[in-house]
């Protein structure tokens, strides 16, 4: 049997000359170029929006925001100033903020309590209950809109902030409970037994040991919720009329006055930037949270 001589594996390149380095860069350049181009391409709409928001009403009406690059000095901040004077938009932003805050906090509160019970308290029917909760993930929002719409009308919840919060919370719970329950289940039992033997009651155990340890999952849940609720159009459109969050408000403005870009552009851009800021600030929790419950 002839054995081919094994090739010595090439050692990692440590000592390369400048020429070799340039060569390597050039070989990778096409990939980098493509990636940069793709990135820029995706940024086009946002850039367009941003630039339009900086143009005066007349300039914006002329169309072609790309002409901005020809005369960069014609930008103005008056659109933003006017935006903050525009009651409709400011109200919508405030409503969105309230709904988002409520829809982030309430699911976390409820889901964390439920998740702890499902993970660590042994009660009859627990597994079936968990299965049921996870099964609810399959219910599409659209199916619930009309029944909830009539329900809200009956209970005067239509067009209210609490009404929106409750709906968002309800649909956030299955995923939240699922995520948190798996994460809590991964907490070493010893840590909780140690708290018990130290005399901690169940409530203290929950708030002082379980919750702090579940912070990565909770933070990422909060981010999911903020991103989803802030940008939501459908639910706001159906379950609100005069007190609409920002997305449906801008959408209706677009329908009515499609030409007032000087109002729509800054509002849209501003509204788009907020969740981006949230995401950027809490990004590390987000990444941690993506793995939440998957690695013990």
């Amino acid at each position: 049997m002839a054995t081919a001589a094994l090739e010595r594996p090439q050692p990692a390149v440590l000592d390369e000359g400048a020429a070799a380095r340039v060569g390597r860069f050039l070989r990778r350049a096409p990939v980098h170029v493509v990636l940069v181009l793709l990135g820029l391409f995706w940024l086009i709409p946002t850039t367009g929006l941003f630039i339009t928001s900086l143009l005066s009403a007349s300039d914006a009406a002329q169309g072609g925001w790309w002409n901005f690059f020809a005369e960069p000095s014609s930008w103005t901040l008056e659109n933003y100033r006017n935006m903050f004077d525009n009651e409709g938009i400011v109200d919508a932003l405030l409503i969105t903020a309230q709904v988002t805050l409520g829809s982030a906090i309430l699911p976390i509160l409820v889901a964390s309590l439920a998740a702890y019970a499902l993970a660590w308290i042994d009660f009859p029917g627990r597994d079936w209950l968990f299965l049921g909760v996870v099964g609810l993930l399959l219910v599409p929002i659209q199916m619930a809109l009309i029944p909830i719409f009539s329900l809200y009308n009956r209970f005067d919840l239509f067009d209210t902030v609490p009404g929106l919060i409750l709906f968002h919370t309800a649909f956030a719970l299955p995923f939240a409970i699922f995520l948190l329950r798996n994460f809590f289940a991964g907490i070493p039992k010893d840590l909780m037994e140690a708290a018990r033997i130290d005399g901690a009651s169940e409530l203290r155990l929950f708030f002082k040991v379980v919750l702090p340890l579940g912070l990565p999952a909770i933070a990422s849940l909060a981010i999911f919720q903020v991103l989803f609720v802030w940008n939501d159009l459908l639910i706001g459109l159906v379950l609100a009329q005069n007190n609409q969050p920002i997305a449906p408000h801008l959408a209706s403005q677009l329908r009515q006055f499609g030409s007032n870009l000087d109002v729509l552009a800054p509002a849209s851009f501003f509204s788009a930037v907020i969740p981006l800021i949230v995401f950027a600030s809490f990004q590390r929790y987000f990444v941690q949270g993506l793995l939440a419950g998957s690695v013990k």
């Binding site: 037994e193 708290a195 901690a200 009651s201 040991v209 702090p212 340890l213």
Partner: protein, 356 residues
């Protein structure tokens, strides 16, 4: 007045008996060890005392209080038992500083802030970790985390301290130091302690008394010397230290076991074999057997036999001989080096224990 009384614990997991009539008592201030291989039930016993497991039968009382009584359906929850426990994994809370870890049980007991600070610092001094007050567990070494776990168990002056294999995650050198240190601390504080381990060196060196367990049953309870020198049965003889097991038949005249060795019969004088009859097993520790040169005629007394040397190994502080007397193989430990292929071995009657 024993501090801890455990009576008749029975615990089943499905149809498997993890604890089978486990009973023992621990005196005030004593360091009592549960020793046994994995799965023998020692951790289950400890967890039952702590309140994390509920046996099917039995009774557990500490001091004046009964913590568990199956007959009366009484089971005091773990958080009300005021015991201290150090887990094998230390279970130090990663999201709190060392100070907060220790302060936790004190805050539960609603101590004032100043009182907490004083007490935490006091206990940190005790475990020599005072300068690590503000550190987080992930900034500490394994040994340091273990001391924090111990400090946390001690900070609220529990009635009893429970230790669940606390040294198994430490390296050998650290383990030795930790053993001595914990023993000294326990003795100084006079704290009644139950210690669980599978390491017999630990059990023998630290305990006031040892309970050897196997398959859910207590095999023997006694002081380390007793358990080592007079094992109650074959399991204890084999589990604690190394042992030679010699099969034979008890002779009619008491105190002698006749050992049948390929044709010839040797009479082994055994202390304490008076009541035995029929087939017996005698346990002899290797270090109790003495080795003498074959030519030494003066050595011709009781229990002195000629043997063939198989191998001799030098282990630094002693030699280990594998010898055979016909079909009987013995391991002998001696600090003497006796040359030759044939030697004499002497087994003192006192070193022989009938184990079954």
């Amino acid at each position: 007045m024993p501090e801890i009384r455990v009576e008749g614990l029975v615990k089943e997991f499905g149809d498997q008996r993890a604890l089978d009539d486990v009973s023992f008592s621990v005196e005030d201030g004593e360091l009592f060890t549960l020793l046994g291989p994995s799965g023998c039930g020692k951790s289950t016993t400890l967890m039952s005392i702590a309140g994390f497991q509920t046996p099917e039968q039995g009774r557990i009382a500490v001091g004046e209080e009964t913590f568990f009584d199956a007959a009366r359906r009484l089971a005091v929850p773990a958080e009300q038992r005021n015991l201290g426990i150090v887990f094998q994994s230390y279970a130090v809370w990663p999201h709190m500083t060392v100070f907060d870890n220790l302060a936790f049980p004190l805050r539960v007991r609603k101590l004032k802030r100043d009182a907490i600070r004083t007490r935490v610092r006091e206990v940190l001094e005790l475990v020599e970790m005072a300068q690590y007050e503000r550190r987080y567990p992930h900034q500490l070494s394994g040994g340091q985390q273990q001391r924090v776990a111990l400090a946390r168990a001690l900070v609220y002056s529990p009635a009893v301290l429970l230790l669940d294999e606390p040294f198994s995650n430490l390296d050998a050198k650290l383990r030795e130091r930790a053993r001595a240190w914990v023993k000294e601390l326990q003795h100084r504080l006079g704290l009644t302690t139950i210690f669980v381990t599978h390491d017999q060196d630990e059990a023998l060196s630290m305990s006031d008394r040892v309970a050897v367990m196997s398959a859910g049953e207590v095999q023997q309870i006694g002081a380390p010397e007793d358990v080592y020198r007079r094992p109650a049965n074959r399991f204890v003889a084999e589990f604690v230290g190394r042992v030679n097991l010699i099969e034979g038949v008890a002779a009619a005249d008491g105190g002698v076991v006749v050992v049948d060795v390929t044709g010839s019969q040797h009479r082994l004088t055994v202390r304490g074999a008076d009541g035995a009859s029929g087939n017996v097993t005698v346990a002899v520790r290797p270090e109790a057997v003495t080795v003498l040169p074959a030519e030494d005629a003066s050595a011709n007394g009781t229990n002195t036999w000629e043997a063939d040397v198989g191998t001799v190994a030098f282990l630094g502080d002693h030699y280990e001989y594998e010898v055979t007397i016909g079909s009987l193989a013995l391991t002998v430990q001696s600090s003497r080096r006796v040359e030759g292929e044939r030697v004499r071995v002497h087994i003192p009657p006192d070193a022989c224990t009938v184990v079954g």
